[in-house]
Symmetry: C2
Subunit: 424 residues, 2 copies
């Protein structure tokens, strides 16, 4: 399937400056790959030609941390304490999930990703092969990691999932990881470090999401989660942490030295009152950044536009300085930064030879006008209502409000309502 | 023009508890008024019948503080200090605006309100009669106040505008107000207090937006802006403040005693690093709340869904407690609270005899599923992409992405680009 976009504006990424420029022209996709950008030869044969009418093609957003299948708990128990939310509401219901539930709840989440222009996710949840299967069946790109902890799983299962998911499809990948220091024994963490080393894989975990988590880790081990896991040898091949809110001096050094990614989750950190991540400091240090929604039970929505506004807005509030964390750094983190964190360098920007993970931004809506600065319009004023097309791996999965993933939305909604209905 | 909505779910407001319930049925609009809710007699004659397919009708959102025509400065100068933004970027360009500019820039803003389900705005900007004319021409409901300060206007002009705008249309209203203590002389403030008294009008101003503003007011007058203006007699007939971030003990007492409204602007306070308003305290004290976007140069978008998430999310961060400021209080402030602040009690909820300022929420989108709690879905997961219809005063002004306001969107966008283009 070849697709030709004519009369487009195209966002080009400068990986040195983390800034962007916009060119006018055409873009051609051959199979799963971007074949031409700007000028397209007249003899390019397209199965589908789209007149963009001056609208903007940009790289798809990468949701660099989520628990997709938690869609069933959206709006189930909010406005309550973290303790009550986790122990009385979330855990007892997660325990009732079966593999088939995960499949349908994932599809609901993937639909929401597509509406918000996200072309891949970095997912941590039960049954990674089932999550990957749901993604692949939809045509959506996924990177799975393990949520291994003391309450479920084993090093052997993580290793088995590593092979199953990596071999399943071009659209699915597996990176070594585990849930978090505060839920995982030293024995398991040592096993994870060995796996990361064996497969030369980056390694990820929830890291410094709450102050309590860091304080308790220091009580237990005399060091922060970053220091502890680094000393275990987890980051020999890079990796990073999800959340990374409560960082200490040495943590920044380790992230920098190892080329690690701080995956920020500002929506979740806000709604769960976890705190505000030190984004300005990460930028000052040159530490890599990516952005994720976290799961839909804690956010509650899967909307990269919300996350982008919050990433810079909360940093401005934290520093009491409206000049910090400029829009281009936010858009870079939400696109290329995420791709790099997820070991998807082939999906990081719109260039010849890269995978065709592309979205179209409808500029002909009032929130995108006037066009004083299009990158700022996207980051500060953009909305999922501006996403008029989402293409993953060369296939259009969402266009003008309609899904092309092989499932009937109403059936997916009915399944999700039935799953949580069973648990009430 | 009579409109009949069938097969709807309808959000009912409980003004005592600030909570909501949902009924199923039909809703009939006769002219500008809600005629039937739930059951509609078979002999009701409709010019237009809409099958809602189970989607949700709710009262329109009220944007209780904005400077609509600032659309021209969207994304013009962000990521800079407040001082540079205001004195080098905003003021010199506002000085170049002529009345015709205001008209077109307002229409652009009104279009954006409609996409986000806002059915009225509480506007403060230059040339209130021109702002009101733009609204009325679109069929949009507006409440204007004065932005009087030392650099423009006079008490006489405010009084003249009071009459012009109040007499212009059923859709336009004028309430006494001025810019802020830090920009306005004592003589002018005394004149405003007299006008409020003469016309038995509530009175509004920017209040306690930044810490500096409050500190300087206390240096000048030995009291906070709230205390000073209350002592001038401005709130004999109620009123309130925009922003209300940096409040002191006695300020809360005055707001409570006078039945005043704290109009919160969380998006603007975030992006301009002004601080986080004490929303939990307002709720604990029983102080009235409303929500506004502030102007599009400071936010930068006019999206009530963003404001709602931020209103509760930032409060959770401020208090470090995810249980504070529940979703129903947020939705109440964004609908009925705003209506009451704007002296529009006839637009506060869906009830027989109220004005037909109604929007339809498309529930058949992934971010609204499953339906564990629909009010929470709206507040935490909702997006302007869920707004499938916006009706103001009985007339549908926006439906499924199309505007019905008598202007061609592309012409409006071209005008806005030309206006700022002239100033570059």
């Amino acid at each position: 399937m070849n697709t030709l976009f004519n009369n487009a504006r195209i966002l080009k990424t400068d990986h040195e400056s983390h800034d962007f420029s916009i060119i006018k022209g055409s873009l051609a996709v051959e199979g799963d790959t971007i074949k031409y950008v700007g000028e397209v030869p007249g003899d390019f044969v397209a199965d589908k030609t789209i007149d963009c009418d001056g609208n903007l093609l940009i790289p798809g957003f990468k949701n660099a941390h989520t628990h997709t299948a938690m869609t069933f708990l959206r709006s189930f128990a909010d406005d309550t304490t973290l303790q009550d939310w986790l122990y009385n509401q979330v855990f007892p219901r997660e325990g009732q999930l079966v593999e088939d539930d995960i499949y349908w709840l994932d599809i609901l989440g993937i639909m929401e990703y597509l509406t918000s222009g996200m072309t891949s996710n970095f997912d941590m949840y039960f049954f990674p092969p089932k999550n990957a299967k749901a993604s692949v069946d939809c045509g959506f790109r996924t990177v799975q990691t393990s949520g291994l902890n003391n309450f479920g799983g084993s090093i052997e299962i993580v290793e088995e999932n590593y092979h199953i998911v990596n071999e399943m499809s071009d659209l699915s990948k597996f990176i070594i990881g585990f849930h978090a220091e505060y839920t995982t024994s030293m024995e398991l963490m040592e096993g994870i470090a060995k796996l990361a080393s064996k497969y030369k894989s980056p390694c990820f975990m929830h890291n410094a999401e709450t102050k309590l988590e860091v304080d308790e880790c220091k009580e237990r081990w005399g060091k922060t989660p970053t220091q502890l896991t680094d000393e275990l040898g987890m980051y020999e091949y890079g990796g990073g942490g999800y959340h990374c809110v409560w960082m200490e001096e040495e943590d920044f050094s380790i992230f920098k030295k190892r080329g690690m990614y701080a995956v920020t989750n500002p929506g979740s950190n806000t709604k769960l009152a976890s705190g505000i991540a030190p984004i300005k400091r990460y930028l000052d240090e040159g530490i890599n950044l990516a952005v994720g929604t976290d799961g839909p039970a804690s956010n509650n929505c899967l909307d990269m536009f919300r996350e982008m506004f919050l990433m810079t807005g909360l940093a401005k509030l934290r520093e009491m300085d409206p000049a910090v964390v400029p829009a281009n750094e936010v858009l870079y983190a939400a696109t290329a930064g995420g791709a790099h964190a997820m070991s998807l360098p082939e999906c990081d920007s719109i260039e010849v030879g890269k995978k065709a993970d592309i979205i179209m931004i409808d500029m002909m809506q009032p929130n995108m006008q006037p066009e004083n600065n299009i990158v700022k319009n996207i980051v500060y004023s953009g909305s999922k209502s501006n996403v008029s097309m989402t293409m993953v791996n060369g296939k259009i999965l969402y266009e003008k409000g309609k899904f092309n993933i092989g499932f009937d939305p109403k059936e997916v909604y009915a399944k999700a309502n039935a799953i949580i209905g069973r648990m009430k």
